[in-house]
Structure formats: C-alpha cells, structure tokens
Amino acid sequence: MSIAAEPITVVVVDDHAIFRSGLKADLDGRIRVLAEAATVETAVAAIREARPQVVLLDVHLPGGSGGGGAEVIAGCTDMLGTTRFLALSVSDAAEDVVTVIRAGARGYVTKTISGAEISDAVTRVAGGDAVFSPRLAGFVLDAFGASTTVSVEDELDRLSVREREVMRLIARGYSYKEVAKELFISVKTVETHVSAVLRKLQLSSRHELTRWAAARRLL
C-alpha cells in the first residue's frame, strides 16, 4: 500500500450522526471526506454527485426498499469500476456480511475498529485490494469448507491451499504484513490472494455456500 500524494476521497454513509462525526475525526490526513449521507436514497445521490474513490458504507440503513447497504451498492453498479465500497457494521452476523460482500463491497470491517486501522483499510480498498476482517475470513473458511481435499469441478467453488492459508492467518488476527512474513511471500501477493478469495465469495454459486447460508437462514 502506497501513501498517495493526493488524499483519497471518501463518502461516509451511516444513519447515526454521532458515528459519522466520530469517524470523520478518526480518519487521518490521507483521507478527505467529500460528503455524508444517512439514507439509501441520499447515499446514492451523494455518491453519484461526489464520485468518491471509496464509500464507507453502513450495512444497516433506513430508506429505499429496506435493502440497506447492499441496496446502495445495487444503485451504483455502473460506478463499481471507479468507486469502491467498504462495508462497516456493528453487526457481525453472517447474513449481513455475506449479503453486502456479494452485492459488490470490497471489504468488511466492524465499527469497533480504530481510526488508524480504518484509514489503512480505506487506503487499501482505494488501491483496488480487498479488506478482510478476521471474522470475514472465518466466514469464508466456514462457507467454503475447512477442507481442501474435496475435488470440486468449478475453480470458483474452492479455495486454493495458499488462499486457505492466508484466510486462516487473517482469521487468527494476523495483519497482511504478518501474513506475508509468516508465509515468506510479499504483501502484494497476500493482497492478490485476498482479492481472489473476494472474487470467489462474490461469484461462487457453490452449493455448499448455499447450504451454509441456508443453515444460517440467509436464503
């Protein structure tokens, strides 16, 4: 991750004014907040107008047809190439995480995250990488099955040995840098693996993922 000379432009979407102001105060100098929004409709309008690099998006939002953060992403699908979404939530329910990731978010962090960590996450997402919290990595491992030995036809439906190792380390609380050190690979390679996993999570039609979601009453 490189620190850009130009600050990264961000739109903050959250229905709690207290949380928005706290978040703005927490973000460091690498990031400039262009606009804020509190509902699905105002968020879509603000994002279209401001065209930020990153949207910090609360999963639970009032307005729209009740779809929350995922609905905001759905309203901006044509901008997904230039604008990246980082989901924020107080909830760590599998349902919320998977829904918003599959809608197109590039990462997921919980609201208890520190200011420095969230600034790092925004920078990383702006650079096109994915941000996985330990819990999201845990969900991925759970969803794709802990075992790599099962032969599945579709490449999208399983994690490679390396991807699985990366996910396990992230779930254990390792930072990308620590993962890289542990596996004797570069941070860039770790980021590549995480992005590949994100893609699989978004595109996989894996029956086990469906079953897993059904078991948690997601579908």
Binding site: P134, A171, G173, E178
Partner: protein, 425 residues
Amino acid sequence: MRPPLLRSPEKVVAGVCAGLAAHLGMPVRTVRILMMVLSALAGAGVVLYGWLWIMVPTAEEEAAAGPQNPRSVAENFARYLQQGQGTANGTGASLLGTREILVGVGLLLAAGAMVAQALGAQINLQLLFPFAVIVAGAVLAWSQLDASRKAGLVAGAGADRKMGLVRLVTGLVLVVSGFLLVISGSFSWDVLLAASLASLAVLAGIALVLAPWAVKSWRAFHAERAGRIRQTERAEIAAHLHDSVLQTLALIQNRAGSEADVIKLARAQERELRQWLYADPEKGTGTLADALKSAAAEVEDAYGHPVDFVAVGTAELTAQSSALVQAARAALFNAAQHAGGQISLYLECSPEAAEVFVRDRGAGFDPDAVPQDRLGLRESIIGRMQRHGGTARVRSGADGTEIHLALPLAGADAPAAQEREAENS
C-alpha cells in the same frame, strides 16, 4: 351412605359393572351376570352398558374435573379413548388399547344382534351397517374435541392441523353416507338425489347468510390474537432492555470518570445484547465455540482487553474438549495479564480435530526461560493438553505471542489427525 356412581378402575371392559356393583352394594359377579342376561333380552343390557359407559365418569376424571363441571358425552368419550391407551387393568393385568375396546364393542353389538334375532326379533341387517358407519364417523369427528380442547374450543373445529382436518372430513363423509344409506332403504334413488340437492341448497343458503358473520368473527379473533402476541413480544423486549441496556447506561453515567470501567461496561453490554439479538435460540449451548466464547467473555470482564473471537466449524463440547477450553482460557488470561491490548482467539473444528489459536501483541517472551515453578504455561496449558492427547505450542516474538492448541477429537483415528497436524505446521 351409598358411594357415588363412578366407573371403577378395576375394569374388564370399561369398569361399568364394577362401578355399578360398588354403587349398589352388590357383588361384581352378580352385576355382570345380570348385565349379560339383560343383553340377551333384545340387547337391552348392551344399550344400558353403553349408556352408562358414556355417561358415568371414571374415578380420576371425577377427581380432576370436579362435580359441578358440565361434561359432554363427547368429552367423556374422548377422554375415555385417551385414557384407554396404555392404562393397565388392575385385576386382569392386561393392557386395554383403544383398538381392543372398539373391537370388543363391535363384537358385543354383533352378539347382541344375533341373540335378538335368535329370540325372534326382526333385525334389519341392512339398517345395522349404515348405523355402524354413522357411529364410526361421529366418533372420528368428535374424538378430536378432547385433544384440541386445551387449545380452546374455537380451534376445536380442528381444521388448523392436517390430521384434524382429515379426521373431520372422514367423519363427515362417513356420517353423511351412513344417513344416505339408511334413507335409501325407504326412498328411491331419484327421490334421494333430489332431496340431497335440496338439502345442499338449504345448507348453502344458510352458509351464505352466516358467512359474513363467521368471517367477521374469525378475523376479529385473529386480529385480537395477533395484537396479543405483539403486545407480549413488546413487553418482553422492553423488559430485556430495561434489565440490561438501561441499567448499563445508568452505570456508565455513574462511572463516566473512569475510562476503563466505561469501556468494560460497554463491551460487556455489547456482548450481551449481541448474544440476545443474534443467538439462535434453537441451537443448544453445548458447543465448543460457545464454551470458548464464554471463556473470552470472562477474560474481557476481568481485564477489560477486547478478545476478538472467530470460530470455523462446530464441535460438541465433551469432557475431552473441555480440557481444550480450559487450556485456551488459561492462555487468554496469560495474554490479557502479560500482554494486554487486542487478543485474537481463533477456533477451527473439523471432524477429526479441534485447533485453537490465542494471539496477543505484547512484547513476547522466551518459553524456555519461564521458571520451572511458574505453573501457568507449563501445567495449565502444555501439561493439560498433553494429558488429554493434544499438543500445545508457543511461538513468541517481538510482535506478540501465539499459543497453538490442537486436540484430536474422539471417534477420529489418531494418525489422520497427526498427518493433518504435520501438514498444517
């Protein structure tokens, strides 16, 4: 004073004779013989027996219901049917199932009819069959009254459950066809058909008139019930929020000066609320993940350091895996005490093995340099894991300490687990 007329528990068929004997102060045998003689007289005994059977309560029923409780025939009968299942016969020591009773009644009726015919009475067998059908249908339809009585008589129509509906429809069909069969003896089919159509038309007319009223009261009943459910739910949520969140908020206001206390309170409350909101009530709390979660909560409460818990897969909590939880708990306490800050706890369960990682970001230490007399790491963690057939490894460096606990789960073959272990390390 004469004992009340109750059906005796010391019964052969339904306890009628024994009860009658007790009531009249006569020997049971005499009453039974009398009943049989009566039965031979054009089936009078059978009718008397059946009537007493239906109308006279058993001793337990009387005790349970109280004398002033009005009792319908159907209730009595349904109750009897229910009690007949699995009730031991005191003297005969044989079980009287419902089916046996029904067969017995059928045989008794047949015998009564035969005796009557032998005595010269003209019994129209063509009439007997339809009546049997009607009785069967009525029994079928009425027998569910008792089962659904608990849910209120409104639901007693029984159509809310599939089984009830089937019973109702079958009963209805049997009764109607029985009546048709009875009448068909005296009228020609043409007349019967016309009469049936006329009856249907009348019934439809009545239904048409009564339908709005029925629909209205049904809706009102539903609305009232939904409202009551909503109210109950609301009250429950309010009670929970009052007991938990409001109390904690009050505490936080009191302790606003102490940052550590406020964080601790907020974190504990968050955890509690999360558990309440997202926990699956149908899922039992006997899993390894749940046990680890409460261990993590303990550490958070004791030291105020957040524990980030991630679980992959599930396993039942057994005596063996309890050791894993205990070791993990000790590791968490170590981490909170010596390192502080954010602690990561990771659990991965597969059918063969369970693995736990406890990671902190403290200054680290040299495991070999830990004095022999310090029991924390050596006994509570490493020793405990080895005693239960598992392993514990400590990795410590400048950027923190990680303790890795692995335990092959019972039922899995050990070599496979070890292989897996080797592959993972």
